[in-house]
């Protein structure tokens, strides 16, 4: 069974999982924060922030990847600074995670934002009258009630991160074991005549993994919804 895929493909699968996991895990707090800010606050530049969040969706992935390269590459303004404190994205799996995270960010934020907007402000008020500061109200009322949306957003982001290709390969290229994710590998197979069957295997793996993640998320979300709805 294991030799159904070659070691390089297995490496690509493992890497994709790692990249997608960290892309989601690392961006989730910022995603929740951004979603909350967009849902509940009004501040100057809110529409600008909203626009920036959506940019990766609007731009062709290559452009996003190129912008990441210019910004977070070792020669880039941010990448250079981070480099000095030992954080390197260029040509590392971390960079792949960054690219995937950026591309998935708008999906995550939208889902979470919709859920936050659906939380009844009256319950948050009840929390406040009981002495909970806005932060505590958020943590004890808004956040738990938003869980289904957060799960949905995270899984959407995870799926996107598993499938992200254009920005990733442009930013961190395709280095076996480092940045060669499943989509990069599939892309490479599809470039040459007769590569379809190898590509298909990876497609199947990718689909299986993502379906499993989806199923788990559905079960999680159902459980949360049950808790909120009834017993």
């Amino acid at each position: 069974m294991l030799d159904w895929l070659g070691p390089e493909e297995w490496a690509a699968v493992a890497l994709s999982l790692r990249v997608a996991f960290w892309a989601v895990a690392a961006s989730l707090p910022l995603g929740i924060f951004t979603a909350y800010a967009l849902a509940r606050w009004s501040f100057p530049g809110k529409q600008l922030l909203n626009g920036i969040v959506h940019l990766p969706l609007i731009l062709p992935p290559v452009v996003t990847g190129y912008m990441l390269l210019l910004t977070f590459g070792v020669k880039g303004p941010v990448g250079g600074l981070l480099n000095e404190i030992g954080i390197v994205f260029a040509f590392r799996w971390t960079g792949a995670a960054l690219a995937a995270g950026v591309m998935a960010f708008p999906l995550m934020v939208r889902a979470i934002r919709l859920s936050i907007e659906a939380v009844d402000v009256k319950l948050e008020q009840a929390g406040a009258t009981l002495g909970a500061s806005p932060l505590w109200v958020f943590l004890t009322v808004t956040l738990p009630m938003t869980l289904p949306g957060i799960v949905a957003g995270a899984i959407l982001a995870f799926a996107k991160a598993m499938g992200e290709f254009g920005a990733t390969i442009t930013f961190v290229s395709n280095i076996p074991g480092q940045t060669r994710t499943i989509p990069s590998a599939i892309y490479a197979f599809l470039q040459v005549p007769g590569g379809e069957s190898s590509a298909l295997k990876l497609v199947l793996v990718s689909v299986t993994v993502a379906m499993a993640a989806l199923l788990i998320s559905e079960i999680l979300a159902r459980r949360v919804a049950d808790r909120v709805g009834g017993k």
Binding site: T129, L130, G131, A132, T140, V228, G230
Partner: protein
């Protein structure tokens, strides 16, 4: 002492309310839509009024003039909402504990077990609000507010979803809060007997304005005001417990006159409040004999006030001023006028248990 001065305009409704609530329990009384919830929301900090000042003693909650706008969570309130507003994702127990979490560690606290028992919600502790009945939700909401160690209680019709038996069980608890714990309480109610029993002060609202305020006895006993319709008029007397008799009656001393009630909880020497509804008093020129009614107060007519279809007679007795609502025909037959001596017959049991309260503030 709570002092409130609010101005706020919604489209179609303007609130313009000033009142001072002395320590104790203040009832906001008024028709549906008169602005009671709006006032309470402003005190809670959930509504920021256009202009206003709200202070509890010298603790300023709001002063728009000076830019003071305390956030709701700094006001330390126990707000029992008109709709329960329980947290659906928490169990009943977690809902109850929620406020205690955020209260200062040294704040005086109610005992959870006691409150749970009082409200009869013991079997519900592990459930979620989605699986509760309407009245159960309301009881949990009351418990949640009480257990948050508040410095001010806001209660918006807390008992309206409950049956009489349950109400009768919970009312004494609010009395205790008012008297022993010495919490200022702002309480919305439609029920005159709740008002009579609980209120230190009554604030009557009409169309966004305070039309009348004063001590409960004064407002409920004033035949000129009758904010709640003539049926609800009645006297509130403060009396002293004398003895508990073996046959289940408690004898009270009402300014020298004896008054008999079915056994009450307070021991001899305690001062309690009783309400005698105007429509529960029968008048007689001669002292009646052989009646099942045990309480007969003698006095002199202070005023005869003609209302629609009925007459309200105020009688000064040794126990205080008592109101009687009788028909015009009877008033004429008895030739009632200021200065006439009469006997007020009060059926013992018509002084209902829910109208007796320990004397507050």
């Amino acid at each position: 002492m709570l002092s409130v001065d609010l101005h706020h305009a919604f489209s179609g409704f303007t609130l313009d309310a000033q009142f001072e609530a002395p320590p104790g329990l203040t009832v906001l009384f008024g028709a549906s839509g008169s602005g009671k919830t709006t006032v309470i929301n402003a005190v809670a900090g959930l509504l920021m009024p256009d202009r206003g000042r709200i202070a509890v003693g010298d603790w300023m909650l709001l002063d728009t003039g000076r830019g003071v706008r305390l956030k709701p969570h700094r006001r330390r309130l126990g707000y029992i909402f008109q709709e329960a507003r329980l947290f659906p994702h928490l169990s009943v127990k977690q809902n109850l504990k929620y406020g205690a979490w955020f209260a200062p560690k040294d704040a005086p606290r109610e005992d959870m077990g006691r409150v749970v028992e009082l409200l009869g919600i013991g079997p519900l502790l592990e459930r979620r609000p989605g699986a509760l009945s309407g009245g159960e939700k309301q009881r949990v909401a009351i418990g949640r507010a009480l257990l948050s160690a508040p410095r001010l209680i806001l209660a918006d019709e807390p008992l309206s979803a409950l049956d009489e038996t349950r109400k009768a069980e919970i009312l004494p608890y609010f009395e205790r809060l008012r008297d022993e714990v010495d919490l200022p309480i702002l309480y919305v109610s439609h029920s005159a007997s709740e008002v009579a029993r609980l209120a230190t002060t009554v604030v009557v609202m009409e169309d966004g304005k305070v039309v009348r305020q004063g001590a409960a006895a004064e407002i409920l006993g004033d035949p000129d005001v009758l904010p709640m319709g003539a049926r609800e008029a009645g006297a509130v007397l403060t009396v002293t417990v004398k003895t508990h008799h073996a046959d289940g009656l408690t004898e009270l001393d009402a300014g020298g006159e004896p008054l008999f009630l079915p056994q009450i909880a307070q021991g001899p020497g305690h001062r309690v409040r009783v309400r005698i509804a105007a429509h529960d008093v029968i008048l007689s020129r001669s002292r009646p004999e052989g009646l099942s009614a045990l309480n007969i107060l003698s006095g002199v007519v202070h005023q005869v006030h003609r209302g629609e279809g009925a007459v309200i007679v105020a009688i000064d007795t040794g126990a205080g001023r008592v109101l009687a609502r009788i028909t015009l025909r009877s008033a004429q037959a008895l030739e009632l006028a200021t200065g006439v001596a009469v006997h007020a017959i009060v059926k013992t049991v018509s002084v209902a248990s829910s109208d007796i309260g320990a004397v507050g503030g």
